[in-house]
Symmetry: D2
Amino acid sequence: MRAIVIGAGMFGASTALQLARSGVEVTVYDHGHPGKATMAGAGIVCPWATQVEEPKWYEMYAAGARFYGDLVGYLDAQGERDLGYRKVGALVTSENRADFDAAGARIAARVKTAPEAGEVQLLSPAEAQAKFPVLKGDLPAWFLPGGARVDARLLSAAMLRAAVALGARYHSDYVTLERREDGVILRDGQGARLEADEIIVAGGAWAAQILAPLGIDHPVKPQKGQIVHLRLNGTATADWPVLLPMSSYYMLTFDDSRVVVGATRENDSGFDYRVTAAGQAEVLGAGMALCPGLAQAELIETRIGFRPAGPTIKPIFGRVPGIAGLSVANGLGAGGISIGPYAGKLLADLLTGAPAEQDLSPYAPGA
Amino acid sequence: MRAIVIGAGMFGASTALQLARSGVEVTVYDHGHPGKATMAGAGIVCPWATQVEEPKWYEMYAAGARFYGDLVGYLDAQGERDLGYRKVGALVTSENRADFDAAGARIAARVKTAPEAGEVQLLSPAEAQAKFPVLKGDLPAWFLPGGARVDARLLSAAMLRAAVALGARYHSDYVTLERREDGVILRDGQGARLEADEIIVAGGAWAAQILAPLGIDHPVKPQKGQIVHLRLNGTATADWPVLLPMSSYYMLTFDDSRVVVGATRENDSGFDYRVTAAGQAEVLGAGMALCPGLAQAELIETRIGFRPAGPTIKPIFGRVPGIAGLSVANGLGAGGISIGPYAGKLLADLLTGAPAEQDLSPYAPGA
Amino acid sequence: MRAIVIGAGMFGASTALQLARSGVEVTVYDHGHPGKATMAGAGIVCPWATQVEEPKWYEMYAAGARFYGDLVGYLDAQGERDLGYRKVGALVTSENRADFDAAGARIAARVKTAPEAGEVQLLSPAEAQAKFPVLKGDLPAWFLPGGARVDARLLSAAMLRAAVALGARYHSDYVTLERREDGVILRDGQGARLEADEIIVAGGAWAAQILAPLGIDHPVKPQKGQIVHLRLNGTATADWPVLLPMSSYYMLTFDDSRVVVGATRENDSGFDYRVTAAGQAEVLGAGMALCPGLAQAELIETRIGFRPAGPTIKPIFGRVPGIAGLSVANGLGAGGISIGPYAGKLLADLLTGAPAEQDLSPYAPGA
Amino acid sequence: MRAIVIGAGMFGASTALQLARSGVEVTVYDHGHPGKATMAGAGIVCPWATQVEEPKWYEMYAAGARFYGDLVGYLDAQGERDLGYRKVGALVTSENRADFDAAGARIAARVKTAPEAGEVQLLSPAEAQAKFPVLKGDLPAWFLPGGARVDARLLSAAMLRAAVALGARYHSDYVTLERREDGVILRDGQGARLEADEIIVAGGAWAAQILAPLGIDHPVKPQKGQIVHLRLNGTATADWPVLLPMSSYYMLTFDDSRVVVGATRENDSGFDYRVTAAGQAEVLGAGMALCPGLAQAELIETRIGFRPAGPTIKPIFGRVPGIAGLSVANGLGAGGISIGPYAGKLLADLLTGAPAEQDLSPYAPGA
């Protein structure tokens, strides 16, 4: 089987890797759009605290987190260890007491069936601050030892390399699709025709544009996020947990004294690549309000990503009805880092005819 | 009339400006692709030495250069003076005596009808070096006082601003086209429908992708160029002429001690945004061979641009047959800086029904 | 006479240029410290509204502004026009009525003897907003037609180039000074001895470090400024006046749709090169409070500069008592852009024995 | 004991860490000069092939490599794993047969007493290319399994963080020294006096400047290196060995598809921070000649570093005679990555009175 994967973000790179592991002849095309969500993605893997209650989605979210153990182990065996991945635990807190208690109740219910979350602890404000030293001093927190962080940019690159090491090919180019009587025609940026048995459109926020020529009205739109990277020079941040304050913001750290604060959620952005005065001020303000110790941190970078947001929170992936050999892999929104690797595995299983781990029909395009 | 211009490179920005000057209600969409040819374009305006002999194309090329006087004057009156434009003259030389003589003959024939070229002078090697101090010392040169240079990035931004000042709107977004029974549907990056009486696709190397959903096989492909920017700290380079060594390379300077050396011509590049080891070495090597004094210059930047190259050297612009209200503006290749502003004027005249300055039928899409 | 100028910021570059114009054999050394105040400097030339009342300093400040006409004219004649200079006028406003009235009174008194300020006008809020379209709509303003803006980075580079064109030499290196019985020894970064009749230390915030080996306790310290550059894509900003809201902040624009908002004043910063979360948020907050229309502007850059701040507002320049052939040129603080070019002229006159335009003894080192 | 370490490069950061481990109260000042050798350093740890024969220096070089095992283990235990360190082995080759044989003889003699080098293998051209796929196909190679690579930038930052975690303080600032009758006075960038029992000047190429005010003629000069970073997108390079072609060039890879090619050795550079046309072309040319497969690699960055080069190859470190409480730590030149961490340990032992692992008198300042 020859497959062409369009898009090497989290979902596409995982699909490509899992197909290659199954012996499929894979070619990956990625246009390198600067606003690719994966390249900006912060990388929290901690499903148990989410405020989203939809059960089917939560099941996918939790399974995605569980899948990380397998994936990281596999990549390590391939020599790919530069992923920014570390199981540092998660601090869940809130400035609102009722929200804090509700989070505790949610977590308690969910971890019963999730031993990988570890034993939840209630931390005093001082204990919470000891784990995340820039945090303000009056907030208790739930600590979940199983929470992890990852650098989406590094992880997707590593999955792609692992696919290439198995024989996949990779091109920095785009692909256009056209509909003909007898199927779909693919062309690369030079206009040359490409041949494939399976085409997987994993183009994220750009997928609607890629699919439009086929008459498909793909309901995924860009949701812009601005995410700020700070540095606390000289400070060892490798072991700080991810911080989830039960708002639309969050924080996590990397080994190089970096603290990441995310993110705006701009629904009507279209493709506007600009870091804006308002977006920057919003994220910095939210970060410093929760963590006054960040005021003197160095601002090293602000990243822009366009999350691929569907009409509902559920992903959209599977075969496109009525067009043989065409699949889509999209719609993960802000959940792409947690779900993407696992969803790529599910889609690869579907395309290679491997037994399904779960019923994927709710996610089918057009469903 | 409401017009939507897709693409704000040299051709699109000029079309938008000229339409706005004619009272058209213009909206410009530009996706900000990092490899836009205009953003990398070096900016030589000197038609008289070109090795291209095709008469119809040369006529357009020469008229494009003549048009600069009007354009720069107009923009100046609007307060737009930050264009990097200066009439510094051009040095035409060659390491090959026969090529040098042939260039002299071509120039002599052409400037007869081009008083704006000024009086051509034959310079001794020492005189040539006096004008371009890093040049090697054994090359005579033809000097054409009328040659000019411009910063394509600044000029296109200035034309866009001048259009906006006249009421045009500008969005950093992309537009997709779909064909329906009754015409073309446009959508922005959010999927919202846009309305226009005239659509001008000035998407450069990306135009084929934009037009494919309409079933149009637009024959323009990307030709990658890598172009190097050097700095001679402390050296006044504002008055150095452009340097045309009758090869595929060239040099020009800007006021800020910058020397620009161009460029690779990579025809099978597709959309590959990378500065490559080989491309960088090629351009630096060519530059230092001709101008040994560049060896100790600072390397400040290498730009990548995808020139929109059609099957022949001639531009492709005008109304698309069979689809009401759709025009294209493309195919200028390496000539975009010289021709783009003028071609935008011609196209705007065509769309607004102004008298044609010349017969545009050879450039019509599909011609 | 052979002079070595250490530092090519506004003060040093001007001194070098004026010495070169007087026939002095000048060599300039500049280490290229990334935090050089001149490189970050925003560039307002509008002395008449300042809240500083000290008469001697104000006289210098006003004379510095007057000097710009000569300087810009001279540079233009040398082919140096890429200075970011434009006489756009100044809008003086305040959110506080009493401060606004006081500013009006100060301006009225000062412009009597400053015809170059032009005729002051009182603008209604709507008129003020018409001149600076992102400004909030409820602030009246004084408009001074003679106010100007300049890009300090471009201007200092242009002065340096003009000096080089007159025969000066320029090295990207540092110089160390040592005291010996018989005078001062200079060495370059390689340790080689340099010879000069006159040494001018124009090292800005670094001058204390350069002079310490001579046993000189030079009282100039770094005052850190963080300054934000925004872009209003597509908007023609070339003619917007500078905006002086009678606070520690200010705004000005450049031709390329850029709006500059300055600046923090961090007195205990030492040499801390970091853009900080707090500094960024402070400047953005101040800018958006005054100009709500900046919220959707693109954040393109934040610059750091260390202003050389002396113990009082007055500059420190002239010959160092007791050490033959050593001068300093420093202490301009936030006034470096207005005063620097003129002060360089005064110092060059002093060193070449030209008649003094004013009594410089109040500025003498050690005075 | 209170120690102040000036400079946080490889040598300074290691000294700070080892002092902190011994209970010393350490403060580190680093001015963040952009050309710090450590920040550009490529990171080869493979002493056994060096063409340098000086026995005393070789002993230090070999011991430095051995020390890496301890250091990496210690840092790992502190949670610091983001070092770019990996024991990938080393390929030693040469285009010259005699040089190749001589290298083999040197290696054979040296590894007898260096079990950590692993078992040396002679590889055929095909085998060598299999390990380093972009290498040309006609070169046999010696393979030393014990060779390693490290990212000097990450390692020095990690050592600094580990010191801070033990209580050390870190300031992004510079320090000036002055001599007084009764000793040395230190001041920070604000001019405030600092107190310390031990001052360690680890300022690399800048140390001569720091020490000059004390009347010390420190014989270390900057040797400029330009080093090129390429990327082979999609290629797994994590396990490629370092490549030592017995010239002044070398190559190594990092996990993120990066290939580093080093470096120019510019002895008369002074502090010239510029990437030059000639330097860039030289390194790219050398890299592509040996490894044709790099031609299509992406050029992602060129780094500049000023190696601190003494009059001979031997390091200069220890107490400064005649000035109580002052030490220097410098002169490692191109060997800083191999030797720096170990030399920091030796110096810390000396200052804390721990037993000496070897006789340090040959390295003493002034020796």
